[in-house]
Subunit: 495 residues, 2 copies
């Protein structure tokens, strides 16, 4: 393609009212052209300002796309002379390439402005902009939420709101909510403890950040499940943790002997429903983990993000309930049981940490929102919470079955990763070497949000696959939308 045709090509493909941000669209268009060879190595891209004018978008949009291309190695930037398509055919002579790179010393835009850790955060960003499309994972069916009941309780609490309920919170949050919550956790999750050990916090990320700052110093080692939740890894890295990825097998966390010989200070696990693979940690492995943490004075974070949703088999108790050493910090969230926008989560802490965490919470976040916590306390005490979870569980169980049927019909048996029927998502494993990122990208263009499994791995090697959330897809859409996705998968498998 001659560079003059570029503008026209972009204008043709750009969807101005589409779901995908313009910068991302331009990045996709350009990377497609480079990978296909239509824009060949050495071609100079138009200056961001002029391309922006030609395409009728802001200069920031173009710059953002260029930076992404630069960060991923599609283009190189030479100060003063412009941006050029890279030679993406691998070269044998590494030393030559290295010296060439040094000579050019490309500096991406974000490296210019941001700190090292900031650059790393931005270039490894994973959160989806869109949160409400078929197969988006980790989002419940918000349309089930009993808005009328919530609104009635909101009205009640606003009408009787004292200034203290609208001011800053003192430490651990609204006591009646913490009481209702520990009752529920005792019953549903076999969690041990009292309301004093419960801290309300605005979301899992803030909880992990507080734990990291109070319990570890920069450079200390944290074990993360691999694959695992990238958001937790991001927050821990930002707090200076040295992340060591630990493999997952059928029984759960499976460190190597070398890893075992170097105990970490903190261990992050999802024992009841491994995220994203769905395994349940075996009892033997749980006890080994607790003994190990106790022997080496390590803390364990148990992220029990979606365990209220188990459709078959025996309920699986929390790891915290087994812990006689006071080493487990139990984390939960209302994002999966109620709605994510609420931004309210909770921690159940070992007794000897409670007071420190209450202080740390006040100092680090100066939390508030007591009125909403009072609304939620009523919602739980009046039984609406349990009823809503029960209703949601039935709905999700049905959708899980529908999706499994669709997978069988479209792709045949033996594709789903986990035989544990629980949670809000499942994983389809794909043959080694499948480009799951390309599948996710093609699906996104078709209005389907799946996440590539490879992106959940910290470093190599990774398995290919896609995560599918079924909780928020209307029953009648599951099969047709999956059929669409299956076409994309089959076409990628043939490629």
């Amino acid at each position: 393609m001659h560079i003059d045709a570029l503008q026209e090509h972009i204008l043709q493909r750009l969807e101005r009212d589409g779901e995908i941000p313009l910068a991302r669209q331009i990045y996709i268009i350009l990377s497609d052209l480079i990978l296909s060879g239509e824009l060949s190595a050495g071609v100079k891209l138009p200056a961001s300002r002029s391309l922006a004018t030609d395409c009728g978008v802001s200069r920031n949009t173009i710059m953002f796309a260029y930076e992404q291309l630069l960060a991923e190695g599609y283009v190189i930037s030479q100060t003063g002379s412009g941006t050029f398509v890279s030679d993406t055919v691998p070269v044998a002579d590494w030393s030559h390439e290295e010296s060439a790179l040094k000579e050019k010393s490309p500096m991406t835009e974000h490296q210019r402005y941001l700190s090292k850790r900031g650059s790393e955060l931005v270039s490894s960003a994973q959160a989806s902009a869109e949160q409400w499309q078929p197969f988006v994972s980790g989002v419940p069916d918000i349309s089930l939420f009993p808005k009328d009941i919530w609104l009635r309780l909101l009205r009640k609490h606003w009408q009787q709101a004292t200034p203290a309920m609208l001011s800053y919170a003192h430490g651990a949050g609204y006591l009646p909510l913490r009481q209702a919550l520990i009752e529920r956790l005792r019953l549903a999750r076999s969690v041990n403890g009292t309301a004093d050990q419960v801290l309300m916090i605005s979301g899992l990320h803030n909880a992990i950040s507080l734990i990291a700052q109070l319990l570890i110093d920069p450079g200390m080692t944290v074990w993360m499940e691999n694959p695992g939740y990238w958001g937790a890894a991001t927050v821990l890295k930002m707090a200076g943790a040295n992340i060591v990825p630990i493999a997952i097998d059928e029984e759960g966390l499976a460190p190597t002997p070398e890893q075992i010989a170097q105990p970490p200070k903190l261990i992050f696990v999802t024992p009841s429903h491994q995220y994203p693979l769905g395994h349940v940690m075996s009892l033997a492995r749980r006890r080994m983990l607790l003994d190990y943490a106790n022997a080496h004075d390590a803390w364990i974070i148990e992220d029990d993000y979606d365990s209220e949703f188990r459709f078959a088999g025996l309920p699986i108790a929390s790891l915290q309930g087994l812990d006689s050493y006071q080493k487990v910090i139990y984390l939960g969230t209302f994002s999966k049981t109620l709605f994510p926008g609420m931004r309210l989560g909770y921690m159940v802490l070992p007794e000897n940490l409670v007071d420190y965490f209450a202080i740390g919470l006040s100092e680090k976040y100066r939390d508030g929102r007591l009125l909403e916590q009072a609304v939620l306390a009523d919602f739980m005490v009046e039984g609406h919470y349990a009823a809503h979870v029960r209703r949601s569980r039935l709905r999700y169980a049905k959708r899980s079955v529908l999706l499994r049927e669709a997978i069988n019909e479209q792709l045949g048996p033996d594709w789903v990763s986990s035989n544990v029927e629980a949670g809000l998502h499942l994983v389809i494993h794909l043959p080694a070497g499948t480009d799951d990122v390309a599948i996710a990208r093609a699906a996104k263009a078709a209005g389907i949000m799946v996440r590539p499994l490879s992106r959940y791995y910290l470093g190599e090697p990774s398995r290919a696959g896609v995560l599918l959330g079924y909780a928020n897809v209307p029953d009648e859409l599951i099969k047709p939308r999956f059929a669409q996705l299956a076409r994309i998968i089959r076409s990628e498998l043939r490629a």
Copy 2:
């Protein structure tokens, strides 16, 4: 005092239904006895378990008080043999004391559990547990808030809530709110920019934490006003910043030539109403600051926390409005104009940082609460915000006058620090050497919350004084409550 009399003394002084947490009360009682010599050096304190039983409180309560005493050097702990009152009379022979200390190697409870930075956070904690008593600073008069209007808007938005409004937010927050906000900031604060540059964030602490992680790496230097807002310093320290305290003079930030020679990466200022002293940064100083930041590639955080409340004189424009270099990050909050428990603040960013901060926000916090943002957008667009601020301003102006009159009547003229009539608090300066912490403690026991000025200083030397918030004290209580406080101040000055 014989140790057997301790239980009785504690039971006599303990207020079980009081405002002060029990652990804190016990800490105060014991430290008083040690300082007064009634518990003399070498006396062994009862075991925490038995004292807890005797006093009818939990063991945690006693342990917390003991740890605080240990951290502050009132007692020493010898493993296996117990907790002993320290010799608090200074010793001349330092080397002797040092070796004695080493021998004992006292380790406070929190050092046992927490990281270094966690221990530091907990032992320097400053947030007040009580937020709704006369003269608490930084809290507006929440009783003025038009709850009915808010509730009406809440009902409207809940009734029409789509799932997307209840899911995670995408990056920067709800656009109509950001539009309403930038209009207001342009008008009221001379802030430059567009809605694209506005990011909604759940409070100032989270904003500072995000800035620190995106723009500085551990060990980099940050200038903080001295005295200044301890909460900002805490968050920056937790993010690994090397805090350099910069003195404040009548014109604002006043670095020494040595400090100027070592440019920081980030500068935190409150130019419109220095916190806590109340000075306004002069125009000359503002321009110097902007030129300096630009020349040395430093970022400036402008914390414009309460500038909507100015009762006299010309309005003072934001520093951001003067910045032609795109170096200023402007921060504001609804905590002072609406109510603190809302937990909603905002940043106005330089254009070249906007996209990165939107990504960083999603990755680090996964924000939500779009429905509340929509309510607030309506509240602003319908004019309720401006009306509420205007009404609050008149009320606070009156209370500021009443408090100044009370100070004049009780203590005479020339005590108030700042002649700028603005904000939610003022400072009374006290003669050098006055123990303002003791005043604050005595006031607290009488149900009056004042903050000691010395606590706002990072390192020595500090000035003595007390901060008085007047915004949330009913008109008719200002004079009687201040008379009470004046008695405490006078008695401390005589001591």
